[in-house]
C-alpha cells in the first residue's frame, strides 16, 4: 500500500489532484482511493486530501496517518501546518516551489508548478492550476506512469494545455 497526503488551500484543486492521481493509478492497473478530509473548510484555508494506491482492493476508509509521500501544493501552508507529521522514515516530499529547501532530511523533489501553470496560461478565475501539472512530477517520481498520467488528465480535462503543463513538470522536476 502506497499512501499519499496532499497539502493545499481550499480552492487550489488538491481534491482534484487526488482524484487525478487515483485515476492514473487505476489506468496503471492498480487499485486506488482518493478522499479529502472534510471539515468546515473555506477557500484559502489549509486542507488535506489523501490517496491510497495498492495492488489489491482497498478496504481502509480512515485517514492516512503515516504517508509514504507528502505533496505540498502551497508551501505557505508550512507556516501553519506540520506537513511532515507522520511521514514514514525514507518517505518522500514533493514541493511546489522555485527553490529547493531542506525538509528535515527527507528526500525532497521540487518543481515550480505555479510558474509552469502561469507560463502555460493555465488559470481559473486568476488562480494557477496546479493539479494537472503535478501529475507530471509524480510520473517522473515513478508513482504512476506518464502514459497513465496523461490519460487521466485528458479524461478529466479537454484543454491540451493541461497535458503540456504536466510534460513541463516531468522535465523540470529537481530531485
Amino acid at each position: 500500500m502506497f499512501e499519499v497526503r496532499i497539502h493545499s488551500r481550499g480552492g487550489q484543486g488538491g481534491v482534484t489532484a487526488a482524484r487525478l492521481l487515483a485515476l492514473a493509478a487505476v489506468r496503471d492497473g492498480k487499485y486506488a482511493t482518493a478522499f479529502p478530509f472534510y471539515g468546515a473548510e473555506r477557500r484559502g484555508a489549509p486542507v488535506v486530501s489523501f490517496v491510497r494506491i495498492d495492488d489489491a482492493p482497498i478496504r481502509i476508509s480512515s485517514q492516512i496517518k503515516k504517508p509514504d509521500l507528502v505533496i505540498v501544493l502551497d508551501p505557505s501552508v508550512m507556516d501553519v501546518v506540520d506537513v511532515l507529521q507522520g511521514l514514514k522514515p525514507g518517505g518522500r516530499v514533493l514541493l511546489n516551489a522555485r527553490e529547493r529547501r531542506d525538509m528535515k532530511g527527507y528526500p525532497t523533489f521540487t518543481v515550480d508548478l505555479t510558474g509552469i501553470a502561469l507560463r502555460e496560461k493555465l488559470e481559473v478565475a486568476g488562480s494557477p492550476i496546479l493539479n494537472t501539472p503535478v501529475l507530471g512530477a509524480l510520473a517522473k517520481m515513478g508513482i504512476v506512469t506518464m502514459e497513465s498520467a496523461k490519460s487521466a488528465i485528458t479524461e478529466m480535462f479537454s484543454d491540451p494545455r493541461n497535458v503540456s503543463a504536466a510534460e513541463a513538470a516531468y522535465r523540470e522536476l529537481v530531485a
Partner: protein, 370 residues
C-alpha cells in the same frame, strides 16, 4: 467502463442505467451530488426521466408515491434530516406497497449540527416496511442500486428499498467504478395495483381493523419472501457481472473464534483488522451487515462477538448489538464508535477485539465503559 468516481456519482450512474420514469428530489449534504448529477443527465438528454425539483423531502417522497401508484419506476435520494422530514411519506410508500428506490447517504442527526457519517438516521426508519441495504464501497453502491430496483419491483416483494452509503466516507470518496450496462438486467416494472390516470375513479383508503391487520401481515410476509428474492437477484447479478454479494459479507469466518460485526465502511475496515489479528495469532473473522431489513441470520454459535454500532438507541443500546443479541442469543461486546463521523481505524477495531468484554458496552473515545 472502468473509471474513478465518488459513491454519489456511482449511485447517479446506476440510476441512469435503471432509467426511472420519475425522479423527485431535494438536495441535502452529503447527498446533493447524486441529484445534481441526475439532473444533469436529464438536462443533457442522457436520461429520459421526468425530474421534479420539489420544495422539501416530504414532497419528494410524496411525488414519488404519486408517480409510483401509476406504475412508474421512481427514485429519490436523501440524507439524515431530509429522511426524517419525509418520515410520514416513508411509511406511506411501504404501506401502499410501492417499489420506490431511494439512496440515503448516512449522516448524523443534529443538534449538534453535523454532516458526517452515522447510521442512526436510517436505522430510525427500521419499522417502516422499507428494505434496507448498507454498502461498503463505491462499486457496491452502484451494484446495490441496480439490484434494488429488481428486488423492490419483484411481485413477491413490492416494497420500497433504501440503499445506504456512509456520508463522505463513501459519498465523497473516489474509488474504481466499473459502470455496467444494465441492459435487460432490470425487468420492466409491472405494478399489479397500479391506478390508471386515463380511467379515473375514487378510492376510499379508510381501512378497518380486520383489513388493516391483514395488510400489515402482508407486508411482513413479503419482507420474509424478500430474503429469497434478494438471494436470487444477487446470484443473477454475480452470473451477469461477476461480483458476489450476500445478506452478510463474511470475511475469514470459517474457523473464527471471534467475529466482528459492523455495517458500511466500518465493516470493510474491520477486514483489515481481521488480517492484523490473524497475524498476531487470533483467529478473527468479520461479518459486514449488508441487509438490515430484512434482518439477516448470522452463524455466531460458539464464537465471541464484537459488534460495532455507528448508531445508538438511547436508553436501549447499539441497534446492531441489541438486534444480534435478540436474534442469535449472542452476548456481544458492544462498541459504540464512529458517531458523527468519529474517526475509527482498523487498529482501533483490532483493539476492540483484543480488549473485548462480552456483555458489556463501550463508548469508544469517551471512556464510556458501562
Amino acid at each position: 467502463m472502468l473509471t474513478v468516481a465518488t459513491g454519489n456519482k456511482a449511485v447517479a450512474a446506476a440510476v441512469k442505467e435503471a432509467a426511472p420514469a420519475v425522479v423527485a428530489a431535494y438536495p441535502i449534504t452529503p447527498q446533493t451530488e447524486i441529484v445534481e448529477q441526475i439532473a444533469e443527465y436529464v438536462s443533457s438528454g442522457e436520461l429520459k426521466s421526468q425530474y421534479i425539483p420539489v420544495e422539501s423531502e416530504h414532497s419528494a417522497m410524496a411525488a414519488c408515491i404519486g408517480a409510483s401508484v401509476t406504475g412508474a419506476r421512481t427514485f429519490t435520494a436523501t440524507s439524515s434530516h431530509g429522511l426524517h422530514y419525509m418520515h410520514e411519506m416513508v411509511n406511506w410508500a411501504a404501506g401502499a406497497r410501492l417499489p420506490i428506490v431511494m439512496a440515503n447517504v448516512n449522516r448524523a442527526l443534529g443538534p449538534g449540527w453535523n454532516i458526517w457519517a452515522e447510521h442512526t438516521d436510517a436505522f430510525q426508519e427500521r419499522d417502516s416496511g422499507w428494505l434496507q441495504v448498507y454498502v461498503g464501497s463505491v462499486q457496491e453502491a452502484f451494484d446495490a442500486v441496480l439490484m434494488a430496483f429488481c428486488i423492490a419491483e419483484d411481485e413477491r416483494v413490492l416494497l420500497p428499498v433504501m440503499v445506504n452509503l456512509d456520508g463522505f466516507l463513501l459519498s465523497h470518496t473516489m474509488q474504481p467504478l466499473e459502470i455496467e450496462k444494465a441492459g435487460d438486467f432490470i425487468p420492466p416494472l409491472h405494478l399489479p395495483h397500479a391506478i390508471d390516470p386515463q380511467n379515473p375513479c375514487g378510492y376510499g383508503t379508510l381501512t378497518g381493523p380486520d383489513d388493516y391487520f391483514r395488510l400489515r401481515w402482508d407486508i411482513e410476509r413479503s419482507m420474509r419472501d424478500a430474503v429469497d428474492v434478494i438471494r436470487g437477484t444477487q446470484e443473477r447479478f454475480a452470473r451477469r457481472f461477476g461480483r458476489k454479494y450476500g445478506m452478510v459479507d463474511e470475511y475469514r469466518c470459517d474457523d473464527a473464534e471471534v467475529v466482528i460485526v459492523a455495517a458500511g465502511t466500518l465493516g470493510r475496515e474491520a477486514e483489515v483488522a481481521v488480517d492484523l489479528l490473524r497475524d498476531e495469532g487470533t483467529r478473527a473473522g468479520s461479518m459486514r451487515i449488508r441487509w438490515f431489513r430484512p434482518f439477516p441470520r448470522l452463524d455466531l454459535s460458539g464464537r465471541d462477538v464484537v459488534v460495532i454500532d455507528r448508531d445508538y438507541s438511547f436508553g436501549f443500546g447499539g441497534v446492531l448489538a441489541k438486534s444480534i443479541a435478540a436474534t442469535e442469543g449472542a452476548r456481544p461486546f458492544s462498541v459504540i464508535a464512529g458517531l458523527g463521523g468519529q474517526e475509527v481505524t482498523y487498529e482501533d477495531i483490532a483493539g476492540f477485539v483484543r480488549n473485548r468484554q462480552p456483555g458489556r458496552e463501550l463508548w469508544f473515545g469517551v471512556n464510556g465503559d458501562v
